[in-house]
């Protein structure tokens, strides 16, 4: 049967068996392998994508059920080849280690931030509580989302400040110090 949906802004028409899962349509038919298959039984969150802006598990949805939907995957959130603040923060803060859970984590975090630009730590933890990570211990994942929020808040503050005053302030502060937690902290020091 023909299924038509929009994936990362592009209209797609696929001839699919009705038993095809959205995850298979994305990975095998559209070759968008950013979305991962972790558990394949609806319990890990690695396959999280956005369907009409809402987080959903691609391993648990029939592709045919998404007919007409607007789907966003991890491949679709960068603009002009520049990663989003969230993606950069996961890289910088050690929120991604083996990286297998990362696409799902980032999409679940994006869904939260799209609806709530100023979440508490508890709200971030709750929103990501369906995503399992075997590597990081989750602390760096929370730190990554926090760092992305801090970057967004900093950019907003910069934009609000008159340019001359900002320049003067920057001059007064001297050369830009290296970002504090720029490197993931190594346990071996």
């Amino acid at each position: 049967m023909i299924t038509a949906f929009t994936v990362n802004g592009q209209p797609r028409r696929l001839e699919l068996d009705p038993a095809t899962l959205l995850l298979e349509a994305l990975r095998e038919h559209l070759r968008l392998t950013g979305t991962k298959c972790g558990c394949d039984d609806s319990s890990c969150g690695a396959c999280t994508v956005l369907v009409n802006g809402q987080p959903a598990l691609a391993c648990t949805l029939l592709a045919a059920g998404c007919d007409g939907a607007d789907i966003t995957t991890i491949e679709g959130i960068a603009t002009d080849g520049r990663l989003t603040a969230l993606q950069r923060a996961f890289g910088r803060m050690g929120g991604a280690q083996c990286g297998f859970c990362t696409p799902g984590m980032v999409m679940a975090a994006k869904a939260l931030l799209d609806g709530n630009p100023d979440p508490s730590d508890g709200e971030i933890q709750a929103a990501l509580s369906g995503n399992i990570c075997r590597c990081t211990g989750y602390v760096q994942i929370l730190a990554s989302v926090r760092a992305a929020l801090a970057e967004a808040a900093g950019a907003a503050a910069d934009a609000a400040r008159p340019k001359a005053a900002a320049d003067a302030q920057r001059r007064a502060a001297g050369p830009t110090p290296p970002p504090q937690a720029a490197e993931p902290q190594s346990a071996h020091g």
């Binding site: 095809t20 319990s43 969150g45 029939l62």
Partner: protein
């Protein structure tokens, strides 16, 4: 993993879905949010020739008020809407608490209230891949002839494990069943057969279409106690709902129900009388009420967590819920 192939139907009207479901009977399955059914299809627990997706039917979703003040919730209303609707949550905080602890945030956006009430029963020997079940020996709920939990008998004891069912039972909810002969309402308790291998009392072609919450249950005090290993993602291993109200004349209206212990959600019989006697003593003696819960709970070795542990937990839950609602 790919699903076994089937013919997919996406009816736009409830009547059309009933007609398809009546026509195909045992060769078909209903698909709501799919969070229970899709993993089960992957495990080979069902191999339907036809799948009837209820997702395109307008009018099966939403929360509304009837003329008499009762609340009506469509079967395809998502769990997160039930958990997060502010007005429903104010009137029935117990339902919001139970719905808000189901699975994970993403699964709550996908799963529906109807799917939750019609959830298949669960067992360690059943919710496994085909290969796992083949290796360990099939059981009588699927492909086999013996029960590994109670090997002497011919009954299946798989545990009914939905969270909204006990909350809705104690709130005195009823469900509307649409079928080939029209629609009928029945008290929620009558939806369940008590048999683990065919847990629902639904006839051929019947679909749960709406849930009704009586206005009289609004504003009752409630407590939902859920035990699971992780506080997200996991199904309950023992859970209990209590709704309670002290009436103006001093009498107490109270109902208590269990889930994830027996093959059906259980409304504990005789609770109100037992509680009244317990409260008449000074200080109140809740031990007899806890004993009543103990007699109603029938945990068996259907999960990796031992049955004895789940029994201990439900007794603690009973005490905690009573203390919370009586405080």
């Amino acid at each position: 993993m790919s699903l076994p192939s089937f013919q997919l139907h996406r009816p736009r009207e409830l009547a059309e879905a009933v007609a398809l479901w009546t026509e195909h009977g045992a060769a078909a399955k209903l698909l709501a949010g799919g969070t229970d059914l899709i993993p089960s299809l992957k495990q080979g627990l069902f191999a339907p020739d036809h799948l009837i997706d209820l997702g395109a039917i307008a009018g099966l979703t939403g929360i509304s008020r009837a003329a008499n003040g009762d609340w009506l919730i469509g079967a395809m209303t998502r769990i997160h809407e039930v958990a997060e609707d502010p007005i429903l949550g104010r009137e029935f905080p117990l339902l919001a608490a139970a719905a808000g602890q189901i699975a994970s945030p993403v699964l709550r956006r996908m799963g529906t209230l109807g799917g939750n009430l019609c959830l298949d029963t669960r067992c360690l020997w059943y919710n496994q891949s085909y290969l796992w079940r083949q290796s360990c020996g099939f059981c009588l709920k699927k492909n086999g002839a013996v029960c590994h939990v109670a090997p002497g008998g011919r009954r299946c004891w798989a545990a009914f494990s939905a969270d909204t069912a006990p909350a809705l039972l104690v709130l005195d909810a009823s469900v509307e069943i649409a079928g080939p002969a029209g629609a009928r309402w029945l008290p929620l308790a009558e939806l369940y057969s008590g048999a683990g291998d065919h847990p629902l009392r639904l006839g051929r072609g019947e679909i749960l279409s709406r849930v009704r919450l009586p206005a009289a249950a609004a504003g009752m005090r409630g407590s939902y106690q859920k035990f699971r290993i992780r506080n997200s993602i996991d199904y309950p291993l023992a859970a209990l709902a209590l709704a309670l109200r002290r009436e103006a004349n001093g009498a107490v209206t109270a109902r208590l129900a269990l889930t994830a212990l027996n093959p059906a959600p259980v409304l504990v019989a005789g609770l109100e009388r037992c509680l009244a006697a317990a409260l008449a003593a000074d200080p109140p003696d809740l031990a007899a009420v806890v004993q009543l819960v103990n007699r109603a709970a029938k945990p068996l070795s259907t999960s990796t967590v031992p049955a004895d542990y789940r029994r201990e937990m439900v007794l603690i839950q009973a005490r905690r819920a009573l203390e919370a609602c009586l405080a």
